[in-house]
């Protein structure tokens, strides 16, 4: 077994067994799934609770036509507002709705008094209903026959189906909402992983240096092997964590979607994904299934699409991580403790943060000049290219970007190895960039 793999094995075992690793690995997807699904579940729970609103209708137009729903029960009342507020209450109403007598001509003459604080949902539900009633009253005044059927015919809802034309002219499903979400999630994930795990490499190097473990190791291992072993070991920790997350999100997410009754949508999406026109038509006719959701689920379950995104993620994560981890290792080797790293970390943090900013603007314009150039520069390409990938990137651009990344990371690993070689045995000095450049030229 080569020495690099023994070292990587130790790094992996030590870190994977740590409580903090187990903790974040389990907790992160729970938080993630939670953020996605808890609000939806909460709304379901909320709707079970009915809020009674007493309606004092001075116009006589509205009260009888208010429909219960969205968690609101309307109870018409004959009493006046004063009577309702002063008399003993029979029930425990949420509030009192006062509709002015001239509401048809003066729609702002509506007041809601509540015993608890009111919510936007309730307010807009009430306002919408009253508006609809007044509108239909006004339409009636025009005395048009069959007004209801005409209105039903007029009512139009547009759902935009977006297809993207490939180079050879074939159309592909493309949902920009999904693209934006995936672009953001994966771009940010790379940023986070590179930072987190790169830092882990740096701290490991500092620990080894301050423990003087290096001195013991030097007779058995080349410093370069030690650096690469550490970088690769931590990379495998990161990939393990990522795989656990993906599996976890798929399992828990799938279970949650089942619970919420999305499985028939999945089925519809499945047939839509097969691009069978008959099944497509069937899916479109299926009641209560949103076209947009169908195409979204169809895209996400499309293997080619998934492969592009996940494969791209792995390649760019590994490339970006190796590039930055080598730089982090060089910085760690040059200092005696973490406090001294701030200055030296600048060449690492600045491009990463620039990449994050470019990522934000690239989400608006994934094929623009800015996005193009920064997805070619190896220091920013892992993050920026992840944003462009969901929208489809020409093959030559992808090849060039990955090629540049590989060449750069080989060069950086080589230079970082040189700095590392000198740095790990240098104590008591706070090195400057000038010195680091000098170390690159040392001969051993």
């Amino acid at each position: 077994m080569s020495k690099i793999s023994i070292i990587a094995g130790r790094e992996f075992n030590e870190r994977v067994r740590k409580k903090s690793f187990i903790f974040t690995t389990i907790l992160m997807p729970i938080i993630f799934v939670g953020i996605m699904f808890v609000p939806a579940l909460m709304m379901n729970i909320q709707s079970d609770e009915q809020k009674e609103i007493l309606v004092v209708d001075q116009s006589g137009l509205i009260a009888s036509r208010l429909e219960d729903g969205s968690g609101i029960d309307f109870t018409p009342s004959d009493k006046s507002f004063e009577e309702l507020t002063t008399e003993e209450r029979e029930s425990n109403p949420f509030g009192i709705l006062i509709i002015g007598s001239d509401v048809a001509t003066n729609p702002s003459n509506v007041q809601l008094f509540t015993y608890e604080s009111s919510t936007i949902n309730i307010e807009s539900a009430i306002a919408d209903q009253i508006a609809t009633i007044i509108e239909s009253e006004k339409l009636k005044a025009y005395n048009i026959d069959d007004i209801d059927s005409i209105l039903a015919e007029i009512d139009t809802r547009v759902s935009l189906k977006v297809k993207q034309l490939g180079e050879s002219g074939e159309a592909q499903d493309s949902s920009s909402m999904l693209n934006i979400a995936l672009a953001y999630i994966f771009g940010f994930l790379i940023y986070m992983f590179v930072f987190l795990y790169g830092n882990m490499v740096m701290q490991g190097v500092i620990e080894e240096k301050s423990n003087k473990v290096m001195e013991v190791m030097v007779s058995s291992v080349k410093p370069f092997e030690l650096m690469m072993g550490k970088i690769l070991g931590i990379a495998s920790v990161a990939i393990t964590q990522f795989v656990i997350w993906v599996v976890f999100i798929l399992v828990v997410g799938g279970a949650a979607m089942n619970l919420m009754g999305v499985d028939e949508m999945m089925a519809a999406a499945g047939s839509a994904a097969s691009m069978d026109p008959v099944a497509m038509a069937g899916a479109a006719q299926m009641p209560e299934v949103d076209d947009e959701l169908v195409s979204l689920v169809a895209t996400i379950t499309n293997p080619a699409y998934l492969l592009r995104i996940l494969g791209g993620f792995l390649i760019y994560f590994i490339g970006g991580y190796l590039l930055y981890a080598a730089m982090f290792a060089a910085v760690g080797s040059a200092v005696d403790n973490e406090k001294d790293t701030n200055n030296l970390q600048l060449p690492i943090t600045v491009p990463l943060i620039v990449a994050l900013f470019v990522m934000m603007s690239a989400m608006q314009d994934p094929h623009g000049q800015l996005a193009f150039w920064f997805s070619m520069i190896p220091f920013t390409s892992p993050i920026v290219m992840m944003v462009r990938l969901p929208y489809g990137v020409p093959g030559w651009e992808l090849a060039l970007s990955v090629g540049l990344l590989v060449v750069t990371f080989v060069a950086i690993v080589f230079l970082a190895g040189k700095i590392y070689r000198v740095g790990v045995f240098m104590y008591g000095k706070k090195p400057t960039f000038k010195e680091l450049f000098k170390w690159m030229r040392y001969k051993y």
């Binding site: 077994m1 003087k212 001195e215």
Partner: protein, 314 residues
């Protein structure tokens, strides 16, 4: 080829000061080689050069007859002055990790480590964390890790610091045992009594220069200062008078001290006989005057030689 390592005119400079100034020495195969010198003399720099941690600015190091190369480093076991172990790792796992990095298979490493752990009476530490060990305990582990792959050359930098006398003795025995098995040991220290006990050859480095090099016995003999101690029975007065005519000098202060300590029957005194004088005539004179019990050269301790050498009195 007699020597394992030859250091040839090695010079190493750090910004502002010279750590090694044109140092040359030869370390013979087998045996224990003492690398002595006051703090900051350049011992550790020399060891680091032999380990290929740093490169010399000038000069060359030869290993087994060829210029020292990266491939030679696995044949070196190095115990640095400052111990280095991963604090959160378990002792056994850690020892195994280092042993495997030195090229032993997992099975071989485990077997050898268990043997060493038993020898040092620390089997029960296998599953302890390094952070739970005391300094001396961690040092035992480190020693085992250094020697487990049985390298050709062992370098110990201050191996006894932090050890109680019992464990220091145990370690000393193990170092001598390794030497008997054929290993060459470089031993850097400023503890002179341990040098006398274990070293065969020494080099004394002071202010970046090699000021004294050679076999321990020869060095001690050659720096004896030609002082001899005489034990005798009979009249001290008569002997002193007789010796005034002999080609030697009485060392009065030493003599009076020794007379006080002497047993009632025998007295002793010290004389200095210049190098080119005939010792036999002096002995004959003493023998004529008193009943001579013993006559021996006073060999200075390494401690004396060290202090005098560093002070520039040799």
């Amino acid at each position: 080829m007699k020597e394992l390592i030859r250091v040839e005119n090695v010079t190493k400079q750090f910004s502002g000061h010279t750590a090694l100034d044109n140092v040359s020495l030869e370390i013979p195969r087998g045996g224990v080689y003492g690398l002595l010198g006051p703090n900051g003399a350049g011992k550790t720099t020399l060891i680091r050069i032999i380990n290929r941690i740093t490169a010399p600015d000038k000069g060359q190091v030869w290993f087994n007859g060829h210029p020292l190369a990266p491939e030679d480093v696995p044949n070196i076991g190095y115990l640095p002055e400052e111990r280095g172990l991963y604090k959160t790792m378990k002792v056994g796992e850690q020892a195994l990790y280092f042993a495997r990095l030195k090229g032993l298979s997992r099975a071989e490493a485990t077997a050898r480590l268990k043997k060493w752990f038993v020898k040092f009476g620390i089997e029960s530490w296998w599953n302890k964390k390094v952070s739970e060990l005391s300094k001396g305990m961690a040092q035992k582990v480190q020693f085992i890790v250094t020697v487990v792959h049985e390298p050709e050359l062992l370098i110990f930098d201050e191996p006894f610091s932090g050890f109680d006398p019992i464990n220091a003795n145990l370690l000393k025995q193990e170092i001598l045992a390794l030497k008997d098995k054929g290993a060459t040991v470089i031993f850097s220290t400023h503890n002179m009594s341990s040098v006398e006990e274990v070293c065969d050859h020494i080099t004394l480095i002071n202010k970046s220069k090699n000021i004294l090099s050679g076999s321990l016995d020869e060095i001690r003999r050659s720096h004896g200062g030609n002082i001899f101690e005489v034990d005798f029975k009979g009249s001290g007065e008569a002997l002193r008078e007789a010796l005034l005519k002999a080609p030697c000098t009485l060392l009065d202060s030493a003599a009076s001290d020794d007379e006080a300590l002497a047993t009632p029957n025998t007295s002793s005194l010290k004389v200095h006989i210049p190098k080119d004088e005939d010792i036999r005539s002096v002995v004959a004179l003493i023998n004529d005057t008193t009943s001579l019990r013993s006559f021996r050269e006073v060999i200075p301790s390494m401690n004396d030689i060290f202090i005098r050498a560093v002070a520039g009195e040799l």
